[in-house]
Amino acid sequence: MNTDDLIRALARDVPAVRRGALRRRILAGVGAGGLVSLLLIALGLGFRPDLWIAMHGFAFWMKWAYTASLGLVAIAATIRLARPDPAPLGLLWLLAIPVLLLAGLGIGEMAQKPAREWLAMWLGGSWQICPWLVLTLSVPIFAGLLWSFRRLAPTRLRATGAAAGLAAGACAATLYCFHCGEASALFVLTWYSLGIVLAAGLGALAGPRLLRW
């Protein structure tokens, strides 16, 4: 095809793109994927029966604040990486804040309980499945982000895959809080984070293949 014909064909369809379209598209991808994950929790795992009571307690919000803040930072990084000439990614250092805060809470927990209870606190009742459930629930959100990227232009595909995986994992963990009844900071710091890191790692592995354009 002649280049001038191509230009004319392309210009037949020039929809307006509003300011902030990129951000909205990423958030739409996360939101759509998140809805699917939420549906999976509702139908497959069930919400924790004491959800209403838990929402009046500290542990629920501790978990929620941890995973949601990781998710927000990861989404911000994903938005940056969706441009072909990404702005600096120094904001990723913010991830250290929730991790350190939760680690501090974990140390506080250990100080309050006798050493023989530490192991039970750390492993909880679901350490074997928690990371895998978080990873599974992150898949629809990652898929939503793949849809977002179809109109965007990431050029650092591995980093973008990792950021998208991190965002998907952290958002999945945030939703998983509606099911999981574990209350220990140590548990969340280890097993939730493991699920999130697995999602980020898989994203980094799959990024160059899935995000290519």
Binding site: L10, R83, D85, L152, A153
Partner: protein
């Protein structure tokens, strides 16, 4: 005649607002720019270059939501062109060094858009007079060490040390300016 950053940006913004005429003007102006860009870097068949130009125009069109109106247009354009070129080379399993975006912007004549542009006089002013002169003479005027030493009436090793320390100080300053 190459369109200026301001002109291209105005067309791009017009296209983003839904103005098809501005969008056509943009894509037409980009075509020779991209041809030049790929011709200078790929000594391949003309067909390959035209394919790459078309692929890049399609990417500019379908992925225009990734442009931030508050940032330079040509940096965005050449970042896309660079990515398309790397992808093209990868498909061919060819490895060649590809310049960084900053260097591309300078070599394509968009120095202002490259945040890498450094005001040499301003930077040199921050050094001691001896270091500034040694760098000015050897690196900018192109004198040899011996000539620079004679001109400044100092020893050759003094010139070398001044250049070395001055360059180190400059590098540290530039890193501080653009982290």
């Amino acid at each position: 005649m190459q369109a200026s950053e301001e002109q291209l940006r105005a067309w791009m913004t017009g296209g983003l607002d839904g103005d098809a005429a501005a969008h056509i003007a943009l894509l037409r102006a980009l075509t020779p720019m991209l041809r030049g860009f790929y011709r200078r870097r790929l000594r391949g068949a003309e067909d390959d270059i035209e394919d790459l130009v078309q692929e890049t125009l399609i990417a500019v069109h379908t992925r225009r939501a990734s442009y931030d109106r508050d940032r330079p247009f040509v940096a965005w354009l050449y970042a896309i062109a660079r990515y398309r070129m790397i992808d093209h080379l990868r498909r061919r399993r060819v490895t060649v060094p590809v310049e960084a975006l900053d260097e591309i912007l300078v070599s394509e004549g968009f120095e202002d858009a490259a945040s890498a542009r450094v005001d040499i006089a301003r930077l040199l002013a921050g050094l001691s007079p001896k270091q500034a002169r040694a760098i000015q003479d050897t690196h900018i005027e192109g004198l040899s060490i011996a000539e620079a030493a004679a001109a400044a009436r100092i020893g050759e090793s003094d010139v070398k040390v001044s250049v070395h320390r001055g360059m180190k100080a400059l590098a540290a300053r530039i890193r501080g300016v653009r982290p």
